[in-house]
């Protein structure tokens, strides 16, 4: 029997407000433990929440960017459970009336267009952070865990997908696209290493062709895309094995262990949850007006699809190239600035970005927000070619050198003596030498074998270490061979 994997993702995204969702404490990452706390986010007796308007706006903006319908009426509910990082022993979240529903994300996977439906997006508060001895640092005592509440109350949106994904790699493609859209929408810092984006992963398997869903398990708080992919693959394989052996899948929460590369069932006592949701009496309901939604929509930044279409339309790029450029906000911004500085040939700019730039960045495993060359440096390089100062080939060397050192291309050309040789008398000498040294190709050319010219040009370039102006070399060679 063959099996099909069914995956649904619940993605938690921290919003980039200055202050927390229900109090005025800073959301800044990396502060000393428990220095960004107050009675509200510590859950002290008597403290009460007040909603941050900006959190509501960011959440709405994200929902619109993900093609959701915004609710006319929404409210906050309490999700009750005990855990040391949850100060009130309930999380303020949204249950039956989420902020937004019925969205979708379109992306390309395996060369094919795919659409994952978004079931709902709701707004909630983050919990604090637990530190364990094995994480090193603060807690040396193996019998205790330490709690830092700086993160408690950072605003989150939870983006719940329908079970539309079928493989780990497809889940990665979806997550990448989701991250791109959220970056364009400018609602989160999206720093994976700071936990700005975490996923709960629901996995089940069913016999290929079946239309019913199998029993699913949930992996909570998976914090890298790589772990999502590996976790899904492991979990699908595990479930298939259990079923193949005649067993059955228990609906349970499992934890992905990155070091061991396995998922482990949590103790049933800790996951025996009955969240007892009910409307939070401390927070009045939200009447979300059309005006508010349209106001947010009007201020929505340009999204990747729109930008891709614009690149095709305005710059004459191929759709696939425009797609790659816009798949990353930093890359697109780089391209667009460089194209602005070199308006005569945006396609050439695109080729450089998609070619050399990405190749070098990939080789270095650099993040897209750390492009080590400025758009101006790329444009300047292109202009050096246009002016005949350097050849296209030398330009590649200059470009690599700029990426490596950050030095401006003019400086590199000067320092390394890379200026192109266009002086005819100097070149005529070299050509004479090349003709003398290569009688056979010369004879071939003269007998009508035109390809031999290329070889001779190459010899001249070699002799000048690439600095000869290829156009002039061509011209002079033809003259000399007549």
């Amino acid at each position: 029997m063959t099996w099909e994997t069914i995956i649904g993702l619940e993605v938690h995204v921290e919003l980039k407000t200055e202050s927390k969702i229900f109090c005025n404490c800073s959301t800044r990452f990396g502060g000393e433990p428990n220095t960004q706390v107050c009675p509200v986010c510590l859950g002290l007796p008597g403290a009460l929440p007040v909603l941050n308007q900006q959190a509501l706006e960011f959440a709405t903006r994200a929902a619109l960017a993900l093609n959701c319908q915004i609710a006319g009426y929404s409210k906050f509910d309490r999700k009750n459970y005990f855990y040391p990082d949850l100060p009130k022993a309930y999380q303020i979240s949204q249950y039956d009336l989420p902020l937004a529903e019925h969205g979708h994300v379109d992306f390309i996977f395996g060369g094919e267009p795919r659409r994952v439906r978004i079931r709902r997006i709701h707004l909630e508060e983050d919990a604090g952070k637990l530190l364990h001895s094995e994480d090193g640092g603060l807690s040396a005592d193996a019998n205790v865990s330490l709690v830092d509440f700086n993160r408690s109350g950072v605003p989150l949106i939870e983006i719940v997908s329908e079970p539309d994904l079928r493989s780990g790699e497809e889940a990665r493609a979806y997550l990448n696209r989701l991250k791109t859209i959220l970056a364009y929408a400018d609602v989160s810092h999206l720093k994976m290493e700071e936990g700005n984006l975490r996923a709960d992963v629901n996995v089940s398997v069913r016999p290929t062709g079946s239309t019913e869903f199998g029993t699913r398990t949930e992996m909570k708080n998976v914090s890298s895309f790589r772990a999502v992919v590996r976790g899904i693959e492991y979990e699908a394989e595990r479930q298939v094995k259990v079923l193949d052996e005649g067993g059955s899948i228990r609906q349970e929460t499992r934890q992905w262990n990155e070091t061991k590369g396995v998922t482990i069932a949590l103790r049933s006592k800790e996951e025996a949850h009955d969240y007892r949701y009910f409307p939070d009496p401390d927070l009045p309901a939200l009447d979300i007006s059309r005006d508010f939604v349209e106001g947010v929509r009007a201020n929505l930044p340009e999204l990747p699809d729109a930008r891709q279409a614009r690149y095709v339309r305005d710059y004459g790029l191929r759709d696939v190239d425009a797609g790659i450029l816009t798949s990353d906000l930093s890359l697109a911004a780089f391209f667009e600035e460089a194209a602005g500085l070199y308006p005569k040939d945006p396609k050439a700019v695109a080729n450089w970005v998609l070619g050399d730039l990405l190749r070098i960045m990939n080789a270095r495993a650099a993040e897209s927000d750390e492009i080590p060359i400025t758009p101006k440096q790329l444009a300047d390089t292109l202009m050096l070619i246009d002016r005949g100062t350097i050849s296209g080939k030398i330009a590649k060397t200059v470009f690599e050198e700029t990426m490596a050192t950050g030095k401006d291309p003019e400086v590199i050309v000067k320092e390394k003596g890379l200026v192109q040789i266009s002086d005819t008398s100097e070149l005529e000498k070299v050509i004479a030498d090349v003709i003398a040294a290569n009688p056979q190709p010369v004879a071939d050319f003269r007998s009508g074998k035109e390809t031999a010219l290329g070889f001779l040009v190459g010899q001249v370039m070699k002799a000048t270490r690439g600095k000869a102006n290829p156009g002039i070399v061509n011209e002079l060679l033809m003259k000399a061979l007549k």
Binding site: N24, E32, Q36, P84, S145
Partner: protein, 96 residues
């Protein structure tokens, strides 16, 4: 509706109350007595009646500006901690 002894056990788990055997027995009786009174609610038809979650129905969309105000200094935040360490609240280890 009658609450059974095993319901009491389950609810005590949910509420994180380690009730004694005796308390559980007594709780079962008392909750049944109270719920017996509460069952009076079923005499009323409430189809189509909206629940009153907030008594001030006109109060909606209460929000504040996104601005940072320093809260508590760490010493104050931790002053009531039953157990603390390295500027954090200390609890029994959470995962094995």
């Amino acid at each position: 509706m009658q609450i059974r002894r095993e319901d009491v056990d389950h609810v005590a788990d949910l509420a994180r109350l380690s009730l004694s055997e005796e308390e559980r027995e007594k709780m079962t009786r008392e909750l049944n007595s109270i719920l017996g009174h509460v069952d009076k609610l079923n005499e009323l038809k409430t189809d189509g009646v909206q629940p009153t979650f907030h008594v001030l129905a006109s109060l909606k969309n209460v929000t504040r500006k996104d601005e940072v105000i320093h809260g508590l200094d760490r010493d104050r935040a931790l002053q009531n901690a039953p157990s603390q360490k390295s500027g954090c609240f200390a609890v029994p280890k959470t995962v094995e």
